[in-house]
């Protein structure tokens, strides 16, 4: 489902005298259906960079990144948008939403953009918010004022609203208490059972051991390791 081959990444810093930073070389990764792969490595090793390359946020300098039939490195913006709408979900560490929009609408939005009827989308959103223990009194409020853990759970509900065939998870269990951590791990296990391919970053070792089938140390993709 997700297949990276020979991916490299450089940053050219034009405002620092055109310095070129090579941060990744020769990254290969294959994630078949129903498998969850954990990216590991020290902070700054390039875990998030690799996730952003898969999501199309970062432009790869070379190589191919296939998600389903789409090569993210060569696809036109509208093809990537369609991919993100239908196929590839991303739960980032930060919630980025239009201010003033209610939590229920924030979670239902991915479904609405797929053309799901408003009632059905809101029912699904409500079910997820309930499951993740967000008090119903908060559903009508914008999540911008919520606590860190609540925002994280809203973000997760949004990421799981549509059953994407491929998912990227950036620290989904960080800043969660034991009960909610359990709910999130359950959601991940359900997604795997459906055949979802998952790439994740988990600093929580117990969580990683429980849901991940393999670990990939991204330090192996650094230019020094490849040289």
């Amino acid at each position: 489902m997700i297949e990276l081959s020979n991916v490299s990444k450089t940053f050219t810093l034009h405002n620092q005298g055109g310095a070129v930073l090579e941060v990744m070389r020769g990254a290969n990764l294959v994630v078949p259906k129903g498998e969850c792969v954990a990216l590991t490595g020290a902070s700054g090793a390039g875990k998030s960079t690799l996730m952003r390359i898969i999501y199309g946020n970062y432009l790869a300098a070379a190589g191919t990144v296939k998600v389903g039939d789409v090569d993210v490195t060569k696809a036109a913006p509208r093809e990537i948008l369609a991919l993100r709408r239908d196929t590839l979900g991303y739960v980032s560490q930060f919630l980025r939403v239009v201010p003033r929009v209610s939590t229920l609408d924030v979670v239902a939005e991915p479904l609405l953009s797929l053309g799901v009827a408003a009632d059905e989308a809101k029912d699904r959103a409500a079910a997820l918010l309930g499951k993740l223990n967000i008090p119903e009194a908060l559903w009508g409020l914008s999540p911008t004022t919520f606590s860190g853990g609540e925002q994280q759970r809203v973000n997760i509900a949004r990421g799981f609203a549509h059953e994407y065939p491929a998912l990227l998870l950036d620290e989904p269990t960080a800043s969660l208490d034991a009960t909610n951590r359990e709910v999130v791990l359950g959601l991940i296990e359900d997604a795997k059972a459906r055949g979802t391919s998952i790439v994740g970053i988990f600093h929580d070792e117990a969580a990683r051991a429980r849901v991940c089938d393999r670990e990939i140390d991204v330090t192996g993709f650094s230019p020094q390791a490849a040289a």
Binding site: T12, N15, N57, Y58, L59, L81, V98, R100
Partner: protein
């Protein structure tokens, strides 16, 4: 899929000075494209050339018309282009006063566009106007008031209602949230996003506000000195800018 708008090599000079040059892109149905750049970068000149408000020096602006399919709007006759401007195209000005008739009631402002495309039944026009005012969160009891009695944010929302009532397929927006306070901006952003999604509109939005494009635009075009220096998916251009000017622009934003 046929692009809704296909722009080829559009240029506009003011004497020896470049307004904009070498601009080409395709916009597909349902896409929202942002154009960013500092003031004087040519983004408003480009928008006005595309919308036919300014004559271009050269190039083609091909629009996929409902009846005749793709047609170069720069070669259209004036009546034909005016008709397009009243039906399939809409233009939201930065200053609502430029897009509204200040001496006419709010309902009249919305109804006028309907009448321009042939609506004649007063009751229908009025009820359609009220529906649209409600959509942009202007209450029904203000329908007979003139826009001069409205706040800036309300005027902007009224302008949007006036523009969208005829069901356009392409909306040009020039700094639609500029000059509004932040709470009103947020409301307007939410409104615009909902309308784009529900009506399947395509839009070209000129702004200097990167936060606005991140939330509204699918794609981004960065302009400097009249030229396009970078294009791409909005979050990719903002998170991994390639051109030196874009890097400077992104790193110059104040964090709140």
């Amino acid at each position: 899929m046929t692009p809704l708008l296909s722009v080829k090599d559009v240029a506009k000079h003011y004497g020896n000075h470049i307004g904009c040059t070498d601009v080409s892109f395709d916009l597909y149905p349902g896409e929202v494209m942002g154009i960013v750049g500092e003031s004087g970068s040519g983004k408003s000149t480009l928008l006005n050339c595309l919308a036919g408000h300014l004559p271009s020096d050269k190039g083609e602006v091909i629009f996929d018309t409902r009846v005749d399919g793709p047609k170069d709007t720069l070669k259209m006759s004036e009546p034909e282009r005016r008709m397009l401007g009243r039906t399939d195209w809409a233009f939201v000005h930065q200053h609502a006063r430029d897009g509204l008739r200040m001496g006419v009631s709010a309902g009249g402002n919305v109804g006028e566009r309907l009448m321009a495309v042939g609506a004649r039944n007063y009751a229908d026009i009025r009820s359609e106007a009220v529906t649209w005012l409600d959509r942009v969160e202007i209450s029904e009891d203000r329908v007979d008031d003139r826009p001069t009695t409205f706040s800036g944010g309300m005027q902007q929302r009224l302008q949007i209602a006036r523009n969208l009532v005829t069901g356009p397929r392409l909306v040009f927006m020039d700094e639609p949230t500029g000059g509004l306070d932040v709470s009103v901006q947020a409301r307007l952003l939410d409104l615009l996003r909902g309308l784009v999604r529900d009506l399947g509109l395509s839009a070209i939005i000129v702004t200097h506000d990167l936060a606005v494009v991140r939330l509204l635009a699918d794609r981004l075009m960065v302009m400097k000195s009249g030229r396009v220096v970078e294009t791409g998916l909005t979050d990719q251009v903002l998170d991994d800018p390639q051109h030196s000017y874009t890097q400077l622009l992104v790193s110059s934003v104040l964090q709140v």
